[in-house]
């Protein structure tokens, strides 16, 4: 299980990363995180939407309601250019930290690309 601190620190980069692959909506983002972490991270809607709202306020994502074929509405989120910039910075940091850990734990040979 990921620690509370790790969950808190990784939420924003994870959302940005998922959105960098294309627009998405709440349920799908949660499912995507669950799939990618093999169930390690289990987000809830109640936790996700306030984060998305904050990110929207920080101009990292934008959103719009889309009417579906069955008549109901769904809110789609897109990454903004500021979001893309932040993601790039975050990516650098996470890779650097990861590299240090790999090196320290003697695992750098297992992942030579990241270890560079």
């Amino acid at each position: 299980m990921a620690t509370r601190a790790l969950v808190a620190a990784s939420t924003k980069p994870l959302i940005l990363s998922i959105l960098s692959h294309g627009e998405n909506y709440g349920y799908q983002i949660i499912k995507e995180v669950e799939r990618l972490t093999e169930g390690e991270l289990q987000w809830t809607d109640a936790m996700l939407y306030p984060v998305l709202k904050r990110m929207e306020a920080e101009d990292l994502v934008s959103s719009q309601w889309v009417k579906l074929e069955n008549g109901r509405k769904r809110k789609y989120f897109q990454i903004t250019s500021a979001g893309t910039d932040l993601l790039a910075a975050e990516r650098k940091q996470w890779i650097r930290v990861n590299r240090v850990f790999l090196y320290l734990w003697g695992m750098d040979r297992l992942d030579p690309i990241l270890a560079k």
Binding site: Y27, T44, D45, A46, M47
Partner: protein, 887 residues
């Protein structure tokens, strides 16, 4: 049944919308997600209802869900909160113990004060329908009387006595009237050959009405047995026990005979002891055709809806039927109807059956108890705040894990309540132990049975709840409101800096309370000392009175025998000082037109005046009473001064002038107006009554022969009161076998006049000591705690060269300012209240400002001693000890 998704969704939305802080946009987002979850679960093959339940579970706002069920959570977490609370109490057991003690003492004092105030203000409320029941009083001249005179006073026949009562009963608005008179002094009652001294005997000629009016309960015999025939008697249970022994119930006493003097009475019943908080008490009721007195105490029950003022008017309109003589008497100035429950605290009528209470003393006790309660609460608040500051990390962690402010407040309030409820058994034990002593001190009979009444414990429980809430709410709210980050920062424990924090405010407030209480106690005692030391115009010590029942022969022999005793200086008749006020008379000075109605007539013989050492303008002549005329009339200084200021007649000119007493009266045979007397001298004011009353004009007649010698006044020297009493009793018993020996010492009389004041003074001293103890404990603990927390600071200061002396000074200067602030608050409030109390005395001390200084000095010394001791303990240690871990 098919699952209706739309309906379920609508219900879900309504529920969510109720939750505080859920915006419509957020709700739309959640709803959209709910749809997605629902559809996904359907695809997985779940039934619609299950799919919806699962979707809801995933979507519902977690934090919000907690909040909506917070009361359930709170109950679920209660054992946990209690455990944490208990653990915290144990961890700081000394501080908790101090808090516990203070809370317990505070609650105990408040419970005691509440019981006392309840007792005093519930007089006569046990009487059924007491709201409609009144005592009839009369206004005559400028005075009001609680005894209503019979039409021909002493000379009234039983028919006259009854016709007056029946006339009252016929007044519109009155449905029942009853009358009795009470003889308080001891009387010999004979049961066979045994003789008992019985006090407080009621005589009535309206037995049925009286018992119905007061609703007394018969334990033995019955009302008709008592009421049907005169010359019957009923006893109270305790008197029956005294007369017939412990097993009086098995003695078959009904129908037995008792005798008073030569008159026999048949015992018709035994009543349960009447409640102690009644405006009169009795041991025996005699049913007679005629009451042996000049008037009776008359009680009236009004018809439902009738008002006292209307009925008083009706009585005045029917006065001709009630008492024809009074209707034409210009001195009669109205009828009073006193509500039964008001008699004890709000009566200023003459000839009360028991010394009435004073509501001001109830206020004083209430205020002192409130002060102690506030001190207790302040102590708790202050200590709790400082101690809980140390728990800021715990609060921070609670908040991080999602505790709301309300939950944090709840935890701390629960701890306060835990402590205050733990004090309830202590309070119960304390009350059980103190109540008999309190009764003895305050002359009350608050019964221990009250301790078994559920109502009292509900009040104490509510009191504990209130104290716990008051004490813990403030620190709890203050701490729970701090942002989480601030809770994790250091330096939250207050330092000696200059900011006026809540803690300082509370200490300042405590100082104000202590100064106020101390100065109030000092003022009360000053006034009491003043009253005890004041020159009353007569000798207070070495005077004993013995009842002679106006028997001149008995008196003369008694006087002769007593004066043979070497320690007896002189024996006179009458001159009973230190008594309750009595009726005044009208008078007019020769050559003036004004009639005054405020003179007390005093009669005594020359020897009594000598025994009392009353100073007169004719002392030299009075020294040899054998050469004096049969009577000599003197007026007091107050009256002489009045004539001087009003009419410009000086003292010398007053001598020889005639004063006519009762000038409204004309003798039908001689046509002489009033009762003229010649002024032969002036005497210095004597304070016969309580110093609550201003000395009023007095006309003193000194007699050569004993004049209605009700009292023998014995002046003695070089003897103990016990010896002189024994000698007097021996002589009296030889001379009289029919009357009991009744004696009084003058000092006792005076003490009794100020019994209420003395009791309040003693109580206020006790309460003040408790207040000091509570405040001192609180201050010691607070300083000890703060000093422990600031050990490092003290260590560093010492390393940097501060001396112990300077460290002490630094810690004390902070308190000095608080004391000044406390003084500024306390002085005006105490001044106001003390002045109001002192205004109730005609003769009073001035409010000296130095008393406040003394009170402040006492408070300051208490503070400095406690603070210095604690700081000194820390400061004398090596700095390295203070700088170690664990501060």
């Amino acid at each position: 049944m098919n699952f209706d998704f739309k309906k379920a969704l609508k219900t879900w939305r309504t529920q969510q919308a109720r939750i505080k802080g859920v915006s419509p946009e957020y709700l739309n987002e959640l709803e959209s997600s709910l749809h997605d979850h629902y559809e996904a679960q359907l695809i997985k093959g779940l039934k619609p209802a299950s799919a919806f339940a699962l979707a809801c579970e995933r979507v519902a706002p977690v934090g919000m869900r907690q909040q909506s069920n917070s009361s359930i959570n709170w109950i679920r977490l209660l054992p946990n909160h209690l455990k944490v609370g208990w653990r915290n109490l144990k961890r700081r057991k000394w501080f908790a113990l101090v808090n516990f003690l203070c809370l317990a003492v505070g609650t105990l004092v408040v419970a005691l004060a509440a019981l006392y105030i309840d007792y005093e203000s519930s007089y006569d409320t046990f009487v059924p329908d007491h709201e409609r029941k009144y005592r009839v009083g009369r206004k005559y001249r400028s005075q009001s009387y609680s005894v209503v005179g019979f039409p021909s006073y002493f000379g009234s026949s039983s028919e006259e006595q009854m016709s007056q009562l029946l006339a009252y009963e016929n007044v519109p608005g009155i449905i029942r009237a009853a009358q009795f008179f009470e003889f308080t002094g001891p009387t010999f009652v004979y049961r066979d050959q045994d003789r008992f001294e019985v006090e407080n005997i009621l005589q009535t000629n309206t037995p049925d009405r009286l018992i119905d009016f007061f609703g007394w309960e018969f334990l033995l015999g019955d009302q008709s047995l008592f009421a049907d025939q005169p010359q019957t008697a009923i006893l109270t249970a305790s008197e029956a026990q005294r007369l017939y022994g412990l097993d009086w119930k098995d003695e078959d006493i009904i129908g037995q005979s008792i005798r008073i003097d030569t008159v026999a009475y048949t015992l018709a019943g035994v009543l349960a002891d009447p409640p102690p908080n009644a405006h009169f008490t009795f041991t025996m009721i005699l049913h007679q055709k005629r009451i042996d007195y000049w008037g009776g105490r008359i009680y009236a029950e009004l018809a439902p809806g009738a008002t006292a003022s209307d009925v008083s008017k009706n009585i005045e309109q029917n006065l001709g039927l009630i008492n024809p003589g009074l209707a034409d008497d210009e001195l009669h100035s109205g009828t009073l109807l006193q509500p039964l429950a008001d008699i004890h605290l709000h009566s200023d009528l003459l000839y009360e059956l028991r010394p009435p209470g004073d509501p001001r003393y109830l206020y004083i006790i209430g205020i002192i108890a409130a002060i102690i309660l506030l001190l207790t609460v302040c102590n708790y608040t202050n200590l709790a705040m400082v101690m809980q500051l140390k728990r800021r990390r715990e609060i921070g962690m609670r908040k991080v894990f999602g505790a709301s402010s309300g939950q944090v407040v709840g935890q701390f309030v629960l701890e306060g309540l835990l402590l205050s409820f733990l004090s309830v058994p202590f309070v119960a034990f304390g009350l059980w132990y103190i109540l008999p002593r309190f009764n003895a001190l305050m002359d009350t009979q608050i019964m221990s049975e009250r301790l078994l009444q559920a109502q009292l414990w509900i009040y104490i429980g509510l009191g504990a709840l209130l104290v716990g809430l008051l004490a813990s709410l403030l620190p709890a709210i203050l701490l729970s409101r701090r942002p989480i980050l601030q809770l994790f920062r250091q330096k939250m424990v207050p330092t000696g800096g200059g900011k006026i924090g809540l803690r300082k405010f509370i200490i300042g407030f405590q100082f104000a309370l202590l100064i106020g209480l101390t100065s109030l106690t000092l003022f009360v005692n000053q006034q009491l000392n003043y009253m005890q030391d004041k020159d009353l115009g007569y000798t207070k010590d070495g005077i004993m009175y013995v009842v002679m029942n106006a028997d001149s022969a008995l008196y003369s022999t008694f006087k002769a025998e007593m004066e043979k005793e070497p320690e007896v200086q002189i024996v006179g008749s009458n001159g009973f000082m230190g008594t309750e006020s009595y009726n005044q008379t009208t008078y007019r000075l020769e050559g003036t037109a004004d009639i005054f109605d405020d003179a007390h007539i005093v009669d005594m013989d020359y020897d009594a005046a000598k025994a009392l050492g009353i100073k007169t303008s004719m002392d030299q002549r009075l020294a040899n009473s054998n050469d004096m005329p049969a009577t000599t009339v003197l007026i007091n200084r107050t009256l002489a001064d009045r004539y001087q200021t009003r009419f410009g007649i000086n003292e010398a000119d007053l001598i020889g002038k005639v004063i006519t007493q009762e000038p409204e009266y004309t003798d039908p045979e001689t046509n002489e107006i009033g009762f003229p007397i010649n002024i032969e001298g002036i005497f210095e004011d004597i304070y016969m009554f309580s110093l609550h009353q201003q000395v009023e004009p007095m006309i003193l007649t000194l007699h050569k022969a004993p004049y209605y010698p009700f009292w023998a006044t014995i002046a003695y020297r070089d003897s103990s009161p016990i010896d002189i009493r024994q000698k007097a009793e021996n002589i009296f018993s030889e001379l009289s076998t029919t009357e009991p020996f009744i004696h009084r010492f003058l000092t006792e009389n005076l003490e009794e006049l100020y019994a209420a004041e003395n009791r309040i003074a003693r109580l206020s001293i006790f309460f003040s000591l408790i207040a000091f103890l509570v405040a001192a404990l609180g201050l010691i603990t607070l300083t000890a705690y703060l000093t422990t927390v600031r050990r490092k600071e003290i260590g560093i200061r010492k390393i940097l060269g501060a001396s112990t002396h300077r460290l002490l000074g630094r810690s004390q200067i902070e308190y000095l300012w608080l004391l000044v602030a406390g003084l500024l608050v306390a002085v005006p409030l105490t001044y106001y209240w003390t002045n109001r109390w002192l205004n109730g005395f005609a003769y009073r001390v001035d409010i000296n400002w130095w008393v406040f200084g003394v009170a402040a000095a006492i408070t300051l010394s208490l503070c400095l001693i406690t603070v210095s001791t604690v700081v000194w303990q820390t400061a004398k240690k090596l700095p390295v000890d203070n700088l170690g871990n664990g501060a």
